[in-house]
């Protein structure tokens, strides 16, 4: 198993080198002709107004909170799913308890309007 993960690590290193090689080749081939007009942000030809990094309302931070709760719970569900066949009735009853907690949470978020895009 250690060797398998070692292989994955090796793949990750090569995956880091590959874009560098591609960019390096392009670096040798491409022309260089910088200009002020070229480096302006492209906003459909209209000059940009104000700065880009302003504060604006990210309307999905409630989704993000619900997401964190659900994602953590699915991690537990995977462990349970693997042993589902071996554990029999215990896992079966536990499924209803765990999933109903999830569903109550989802229903609460839904009712509170956390799932509405505003």
């Amino acid at each position: 198993m250690l060797q398998e993960f070692g292989n994955v690590g090796l793949l990750l290193i090569v995956a880091l080198v590959f874009p560098l090689l591609a960019l390096g080749t392009a670096f040798l081939l491409r022309p260089r002709d910088p200009g002020v007009e070229k480096s302006l942000p492209y906003e459909c030809g209209v000059d940009t107004v104000g700065t880009t990094w302003v504060q604006f309302r990210a309307s999905y931070f409630l989704y993000a909170l619900v997401f964190v709760a659900f994602d953590v719970e699915t991690v537990f569900l995977y462990l349970w799913a693997i042993k589902f066949q071996e554990l029999g009735t215990f896992a079966f009853v536990e499924m209803f308890i765990f999933l109903s907690i999830l569903l109550v949470g989802l229903g609460y978020a839904w009712k509170k309007g956390a799932l509405e895009w505003k």
Binding site: L12, L16, R30, P41, W53, Y63, D71, T74, M95, L115
Partner: protein, 345 residues
């Protein structure tokens, strides 16, 4: 135990040959490097083939002829495009967050490539048959959110920033139903190892036993790789090209490469989980694998020319109010079904 044929035999022959010339401790690592070379060959080839395929399929669906000038039937069009992209000037927008801007396309490529480690291309032909195979895929593929946000943030462009923010909303929302739809398959197999999942489908494909999960998976996968009708992230008519707006030349090509690598990846996962992986009569396993993946890719391309783009509130409502409850119901149905089956047998 089934007789092992196909790619594994080739790998064993190669290992024998290497064993003659190299000391024993180097054989394993050189085999790994050869496998990595093959994986990167597959990634590059899929990008070349899929770009051509995408253009030909969309031309076919719009009664056009598509690329037909470079080479026979326009087959070399993508190669020509690649050289064009390589020889384009590299323009960094003024006021961009330099390092984040440079790192984003590279970091996007890593999860796209890393996902290929766990695909069972043929019997025994898995680069790293991890015991957490499918979980590894989920974990790695969801890392794609970060480079999108980085590219959107660093570009100093308002369209790019909006695109980056949308990516986060979309990928987070569709991650949960996707993971839950895969859960049904894991319950039936009792293992997350990819080769076990394929082996369990020797007689019946899981698309028959898990039809709801398959539908939920395909929809969420379309959203995860930002393809139409879920292409709000790079909706051309709204925000130019989203996070890629300010990228040119090879950096843009890296985004493109990662996009097509991801398209192949989700199709390969659909094949492995629901369509029986490399199982199939007469032909060798890897041929079946690639045929099924090609079928899935065609399905994704078909979606693109069939469904109009969703609005962002419709997208969120579909993910949280339809697909998530559906995926949870599927888990319950699978659990009840398996429990009754165990009681009867």
């Amino acid at each position: 135990m089934q007789e092992v044929t196909g790619l594994y035999v080739i790998a064993e022959m190669l290992r024998d040959i290497l064993g003659h010339y190299l000391p024993a401790q180097y054989v394993d690592i050189s085999m790994s490097l050869i496998n990595i070379g093959v994986i990167f060959g597959i990634i590059s080839m899929t990008a070349v083939v899929l770009v051509y395929g995408e253009r030909k399929v969309s031309a076919f669906m719009q009664s056009r002829s598509g690329p037909n000038r470079v080479g026979p039937y326009g087959l070399l069009q993508t190669i020509a495009d690649m050289f064009k992209l390589m020889s384009k000037e590299d323009i960094m927008p003024a006021g961009a967050d330099k390092w984040m801007w440079i790192l984003a396309p590279m970091i996007l490529f890593i999860p796209a490539a890393a996902a290929y480690a766990v695909f069972p291309f043929d019997n025994q032909a898995v680069f790293a048959d991890l015991n957490i195979g499918i979980f590894y895929f989920i974990a790695v593929s969801s890392q794609a959110v970060l480079p999108f946000l980085m590219a959107g943030w660093a570009s100093n462009n308002k369209y790019a920033l909006i695109g980056g923010m949308r990516t986060v909303a979309q990928m987070l929302s569709y991650e949960v139903p996707m993971v839950l739809s895969i859960l049904g398959v894991v319950m039936m197999v009792g293992s997350m190892r990819m080769s076990d999942i394929v082996a369990a489908q020797q007689n019946v494909w899981f698309i028959v036993l898990q039809p709801i999960a398959f539908v939920v998976y395909v929809i969420t996968a379309t959203a995860e790789i930002n393809r139409a009708p879920f292409d709000l992230v790079e909706g051309e008519s709204e925000i130019v090209a989203g996070p890629f707006t300010e990228y040119t030349g090879m950096r843009f090509a890296l985004f493109f490469l990662a996009e097509y690598a991801n398209l192949f990846a989700v199709s390969a996962i659909a094949t492995t989980l629901f369509l029986g992986g490399w199982h199939g009569p007469w032909l060798p396993g890897w041929v079946w694998f690639f045929l099924k993946v090609a079928g899935m890719v065609f399905l994704f391309m078909w979606f693109r020319w069939t469904f109009p783009r969703l609005r962002i509130d419709q997208l969120m409502a579909l993910g949280w109010k339809v697909l998530l409850p559906l995926a949870l119901v599927n888990v319950v149905i699978t659990g009840v079904g398996m429990y009754i089956y165990q009681l009867l047998s």
